[in-house]
Structure formats: C-alpha cells, structure tokens
C-alpha cells in the first residue's frame, strides 16, 4: 500500500455506510523499539489547509474557534479501526460518536432546520 496514493484524501465511510469526511492527514509513530507505523487518521479543516499553506491552517483553526461546534482537539481515528482500504476507506466506527459529523450536525441544527421545509436531522 502506498500511503499518499491509497490512503490520503480518500473518502471515509463508517460502519453504517455514512460518508464521514476525507482523510486530511496521517499520524506516524516512530518508537525506539518498534518499526515506524501509522497510528492515526486525522480529519478536519486545520490539518487539511495546513497542507496547502501553514498560514491557511492557522486561519482555519482560528475561524473554528470563533464559529461552529468549537471542538477543542482534532478528530483522530486509530488505524486499528480501519477495515478495508479500496477506492474508499471503510472504518469500524460510528461517525457521529467520534465527532466527524460535528459541523454537519451544527449546521443542521443552527441553520437548516430553522428554515421551513428543512426537515429534522434526528428523524430517521
């Protein structure tokens, strides 16, 4: 597997076939005794925009503190939860529980559901 070609930027799909996001970045662990290995998948704006330019990453972090769900830390998914890596990456997690849908839920609750005909996110 080639990490940049096969993992980075691929779409993440959760246990319930919900589109979660795309892979923004990867965390590599280099231990003294173990081989270097990928420990986590990172998702979210700050990681993503830092790849274009560090200043954009800082801007994204700052904007996220002003507005939106105001999550403190980055969303990290342990590599052990990866089930398959193909055209998409399937994960053994629930998108909602790990915080991948924070923005989706925030926009649904604060904006979309307040417009007539927007529907209700919680109705399944």
């Amino acid at each position: 597997m080639k990490l940049v070609r096969d993992v980075l930027d691929k779409k993440l799909i959760d246990r319930e076939h919900c589109d979660m996001s795309r892979v923004s970045g990867l965390v590599m662990r280099v231990g003294e005794r173990s081989q270097p290995h990928i420990s986590h998948i990172l998702i979210g704006g700050p990681t993503l925009w830092t790849r274009v330019h560090p200043a954009l990453g800082r801007l994204s972090t700052r904007l996220a503190q002003l507005w939106g769900p105001k999550r403190k830390d980055l969303v990290r998914i342990p590599w052990s939860r990866v089930m398959t890596v193909g055209k998409d990456i399937k994960l053994d997690v629930k998108a909602r529980d790990i915080g991948a849908l924070d923005w989706e839920i925030w926009i649904a609750q604060h904006i979309i559901e307040r417009i007539p005909g927007g529907g209700n996110k919680e109705e399944e």
């Binding site: 940049v4 980075l8 930027d9 691929k10 779409k11 993440l12 919900c18 589109d19 979660m20 996001s21 795309r22 923004s24 993503l48 790849r51 274009v52 055209k87 923005w103 989706e104 839920i105 926009i107 649904a108 904006i111 979309i112 559901e113 417009i115 005909g117 927007g118 529907g119 209700n120 996110k121």
Partner: protein, 404 residues
Amino acid sequence: MKKILQITLGIITSVGGFLEIGSVTTAAQAGASFGYQLLWAILLGTICLIFLVEMSGRLAAVSKHTIVDATRERFGFPFYAIVMLGMVLVAFMVLVAELGGIGLSLQILSGLGFPWWAIPVSFVVWLLMWKGTFGLIENGASLLGLVTISFVVAAVKMHPDWGSAGHGLLPTMPGDQKAKYGFIAVSILGASISPYLMYFYSSGAIEDKWDESYIPMNRIIAGFGMTFGGLLSMAVLVAAALAFQPRGIDIDKFEQAALLMTSALPKWGFYFFAFSMLFACLGAALEVSLAIAYFFAQGFGWNWSEDLEPSKDARFSFAYTIIIFLAAIPLLFGVDPIKVTLMSMALTAATLPLAIVPFLFLMNDPIYLGEHRNGWVSNSVVAIIILISFVLSVISIPLQIIGG
C-alpha cells in the same frame, strides 16, 4: 423499456441543458457581426463536449466516483484546492449570468427592470432545489427547455442559404475586426464546453445509480443530446445572421436579440424568445448551483444528494443556499448580465486546461477505469480542442480588454 425511457430523458436533458444565456448571446453576436463565418466554433465546441460528457458519464458508471471525487483522491488536496478555486469562481460568474438571463426575460415580458427580479428569481431557484428532487430538476427543467426548439423553426423559416452556412463550418480568417472575431470564437467555445455540465452530469450518474451496463446508453445520450444542443446553438447563429447582418445591427442589448425570432415569427416570436430564454436560463441556473454545491460536498467528503431532505445533508444544502443568494447581489446593483455572460464564457475557455487536463489523466487511470480507459482518439480530440481554445483565449482576451 426502462432504458429507452432513460435515453429519451437523457437526450431531452442535454437539449435542455445545452442552450443557456451563454450559448444564445455568443451565437447571436457571432451571427450579427460575422454572418455564418463562426459556425465552426460551435461545431468544434460541440464535438469536444460530446467526448467530455461521454467520459464524465463513463467515469461515474465504472468507478462510482464523480470527477470531483477522483480529482481530489488522485491529485491530493493542495492541487484540488486550486482547481476548486478556479472552477467555483467561473461557475459563480456563470450563475450570475443565468440568474440575470431569467431577470432579463422577465424584464422584457413585464417591463419591470431586471434588478427588481434578482431576489424573487434567486428565491425560486433556491426553493426548487430545497423542495425538489434530482429527477424533478433534471426532467422538469429540460422539458420546459424544449421550447428552445423554436430557434430552429425561426432559422428554417428565414430560408438560409445552406451552401454558405456550410462554408462557415470551416474556419476562415475575417477581413477586419480580428480581435473581436477571436474573442467571440473563444466565448462560443467557452459557452459550449462548460465544465459545470460535466460535474453536473457525472454527479447525476451517481444520483441515478449508474453501473457499467449504462456505458452504451451513456454514449447515445452524449452523442445525440449534445448534437441536438449544438444544432440549436447553430440555429441561433443562423437566425441572427439573417435578422441582423443585413441591417448592420450589433447586439449589445438583450431586447435586440428578440429580433432574431420576431423577424421569422412576427406574431409569436417575441413570446417564444422570452420563454425560451426564461426556461433555458432557469435550467442552467439550477444545474450550475448544483454543480457548485457538488464541488464542495464531494471535494470535502460531505454527505450529498439532491434527493435527501436538506437536514440530512446540511452542509451541501447550506452551500447552495449561500451561493444562490450571493449570486443575486451583483444583479441587485444592476451589473449588466450580458457583460457578465461574455466575460464568464471567455474565462471558461481560458480555464479549460485547469478542468480538462487533470480529467484526461483520470480517464487514462486503470485504478478508476480498468479496461474502460480512454483510447487515443478521445484523448487526442479533446487535447487538441482544449489547446486551441486555450491559445485563442490567451491571445484574444487581453486584446478585447485593451480594445474595450
């Protein structure tokens, strides 16, 4: 049987989706200023679009990924961000032009100026997306768009000289006004080869759950649909050549363009023109707004589908809501839709390499297409036409700006 119905719908979609304010304005200007001489630009644009639309559908049917998905995955986010910036800016200008086109049609029907229509029109477009499904937008807009066939009736009724029209299909250099000729040629190419149509079409294939068995059908839709669309544009050019050139009128106002219908159909022509423009621009406005929202949603990996209730794909719905209302603002301040149209069509042509070159790489990638990869014919036809459009636009856009 179901597939035959889908083919029919697909062709109607393409006929309805092809003609919009861009193709009508550019074709009418070409006819008014240069007679049949610029027909070749429509032909070239249509050939290129047939290949591109076929590829967009094939990519989606085989890989189950849209063009935007595949661009981000294959080239990474930093490159994707550049493509997104360029495509979204140009598509936004096109959206302003289409909303303006609806406003201008209502202006000639009602007498009330187009800035007054900016907010009501954006609201209706937004409401159709908010409440409607993909099928409704695709089929409703295209069925209404069939009224644009009246351009063909108008062109034929004016008895064009088919021989000299045929000569226009081969490129020739004009005697004078070379800069204007080049700029209109570029705008026509930009109006025909619209990347937003590809993003819309490949997302539509995913919305309609296409698989490999749709490849032959996709080919028929792309071939027939875009050919019909190209013929409609040519009809506008021919009608404009017959209506304006003898009188030496240059079109710079929307109302003048109605003449190309009223010369042939004195009684009903005006209404045919107004409603053709109204429905054609409405269909295009829906397609462009969806294409922009798809661009964000697919690029960032959000949930998206025009068939879901807005709260089930909140970020996607939020994206088109913001975009449609932002696009109303310039019109509210009276920015001339025709100027926006011409500039956005020329910019489309200039940014084509940004959209098409990465796309050609994807279409040759075995990971996405396996045995259904492009052959050398499709690759060369598209590459050559894109190169021509790019070179022409690099030469003629600065000339047009300097020349005013």
